[in-house]
């Protein structure tokens, strides 16, 4: 069996790329090792309840009728209508540091006003920074790593404001500790502060199911439980893939969303060392608490709260199993839906130490998940009313869970610190999309698959 394109991974980027290729008549097959679709943004059912894996919110919100921005771009490219993603905007979110709370919603003016009110000395500098952000071209595939903290410090002199601005952006997309690449910063700044949060009533499964339906209707093939064990290399080219069960599939080209280092590890030859293909090491633990009330009933009506308990913000691989100093509180209920979700729930996410979680023996692992669930909740109670009496069911995932279901080294969520923006690899017909290519989030990952499919597989130079 020979394909025009094989795509590794049925996550958002792989499915979006698959739709583009199938739409233009390519014979394309998506291979997924797991039993279900989604990758880093998947969903599952536990004790009769539906849960999302990664999704707190869809970023890059644009209201119906909008024409600009990444959301409208992917709707056009994938031939979807706005209604297909059923996005309800957020109620409002905040960044909470000692002595300061900056609120934001999907109106950027509101956020600017918050900064003007709380950091009056800084607002002019902030506006200059926004001008730089607006002028930045994220489409330039040749750009080098630039320190965001240095760029920000040229405009903003209060380190507290710098940390508060960075906190949500790092939590939602930085693969590197302490600082982030300016290009990534611009992508995240636009997607979170200037465009904003939304969520489909049914969660990420709605988007994934619509992608899969469209891909199959266009004649695309999707194989689940079909992990790629090895890429077959002939000289500078990939000729096909070997699956976990030993079967071989041939293809003219391969697009991998497995991660940059993870993809090179599958090659059956020695690949010259290239530091760009080094995996990231930032990962998280997330607790999910299902509640017998909607969060608004006990006084919590914010969509997402990013908290940090000192003026310094340590975005880094946690030295403890979990870093309790900071975190993210997400309430899937607090979006402007037409009707409330059936049950309340709160998700709290904090930085974690991948090695610690990977190395625990199974029994101890379960105990530790329970212990840290309680510690994370206790720590978050400084920023949210105590909801513990309302908890009906819990689940916790760790870097180990992420590694198990996505194959990402270190259970890394935002991929490698160095992005491969043009999606190329040492092999002429092997390309990368997804987290390690450079666009992040639900909308970003789809844009990644689309961009790389367009650039290399549909319009090769």
């Amino acid at each position: 069996m020979s394909y025009d394109s094989i795509i590794i991974g049925a996550g958002l980027s792989g499915l979006a790329a698959g739709i583009r290729l199938a739409y233009y008549g390519k014979r394309v097959c998506i291979l997924e090792r797991h039993t279900t679709i989604g990758g880093l943004n998947s969903f599952y059912r536990l004790r009769g309840r539906n849960h999302d894996v990664g999704l707190h919110a869809v970023t890059n919100y644009s209201p119906p009728g909008g024409k600009r921005g990444p959301l409208n771009k992917i709707l056009r490219q994938l031939r979807f209508q706005w209604e297909d993603f059923d996005l309800s905007p957020q109620c409002g979110s905040s960044v909470v540091f000692p002595g300061h709370t900056l609120r934001f919603n999907n109106q950027f003016d509101y956020f600017q006003a918050q900064i003007a009110e709380q950091f009056p000395q800084q607002i002019d500098g902030f506006r200059q920074l926004v001008t730089e952000i607006d002028a930045h071209n994220i489409g330039d595939l040749g750009q080098q790593w630039i320190s965001t903290r240095e760029r920000m410090a040229e405009r903003i002199s209060d380190p507290l404001l710098i940390n508060m601005l960075l906190c949500p952006l790092m939590f939602y997309g930085s693969p590197s500790a302490h600082d982030m690449d300016f290009n990534q910063f611009v992508i995240m700044f636009r997607s979170i502060y200037q465009e904003g949060f939304a969520r489909p009533y049914q969660g990420v499964r709605l988007i994934l199911k619509n992608l899969t339906k469209k891909f199959k209707a266009l004649g695309g093939e999707l194989k689940l439980r079909a992990g790629v064990k090895q890429l077959l290399i002939e000289g500078k080219k990939v000729s096909g893939v070997v699956l976990d069960d030993g079967s071989i599939l041939e293809s003219q080209n391969v697009l991998s969303s497995a991660g940059s280092a993870e993809t090179l590890q599958m090659c059956d030859v020695d690949v010259p060392r290239d530091d760009r293909f080094t995996p990231g090491d930032i990962s998280f633990v997330e607790t999910i608490s299902v509640l017998d009330q909607q969060p608004a009933e006990f006084g919590h009506d914010e969509t997402i709260v990013f908290y940090n308990d000192s003026e310094d913000f340590y975005y880094e691989q946690s030295k403890e199993p979990v870093d309790l100093r900071s975190g993210i509180i997400c309430s899937p209920n607090n979006f402007k839906y037409d009707q409330p979700l059936k049950e309340g729930s709160i998700r709290i996410t904090a930085l974690a130490n991948p090695d610690y979680w990977m190395s625990l023996p199974e029994e101890k692992y379960i105990e530790e998940k329970q212990y840290w669930y309680e510690e994370i909740l206790k720590s978050s109670m400084r920023f949210i009313p105590d909801f513990r009496p309302h908890v009906l069911d819990i689940d916790t995932f760790t870097p180990r869970t992420i590694k198990k279901f996505t194959g990402h080294i270190n259970g890394c969520v935002y991929g490698a610190p160095q992005k491969i923006l043009d999606g190329t690899t040492p092999f002429n017909n092997l390309f990368l999309c997804g987290t390690d290519q450079g666009f992040l989030g639900i909308i970003g990952s789809m844009l990644s698959g689309i961009s790389i499919a367009n650039l290399h597989l549909l319009n090769p130079k």
């Binding site: 233009y24 024409k67 600009r68 056009r76 031939r79 367009n454």
Partner: protein
């Protein structure tokens, strides 16, 4: 295809790319970019749709010809004179 048929083909492609757009108000002499905010990704899509439907190759240096409906139809008329409309 006659120019009028080519116009319908382009409208059909635009409707596929931007299903939420009201195309009945489209002004044939005003750039698509201004009316629909089409960007370079969208123009590439028009080119690819034409390639898929009629096997017509539009070289990159000619993308500028696709600025308005009028200029697009003028540019495509000789290229598609022998093609059968699919719309």
């Amino acid at each position: 295809m006659a120019p009028e048929q080519i116009r319908s083909v382009i409208l059909d492609i635009l409707a596929r790319i931007a299903p939420d757009e009201d195309l009945s108000e489209l002004d044939d002499s005003v750039p698509f970019r201004e009316q629909m905010e089409l960007d370079s990704m969208d123009f590439l899509d028009i080119v690819m749709e034409l390639r898929k439907l009629y096997r017509v190759q539009i070289p990159e240096e000619d993308y500028g010809e696709l600025v308005t409906m009028d200029s697009t139809v003028t540019y495509l008329t000789p290229l598609l004179k022998d093609a059968e409309s699919t719309v």
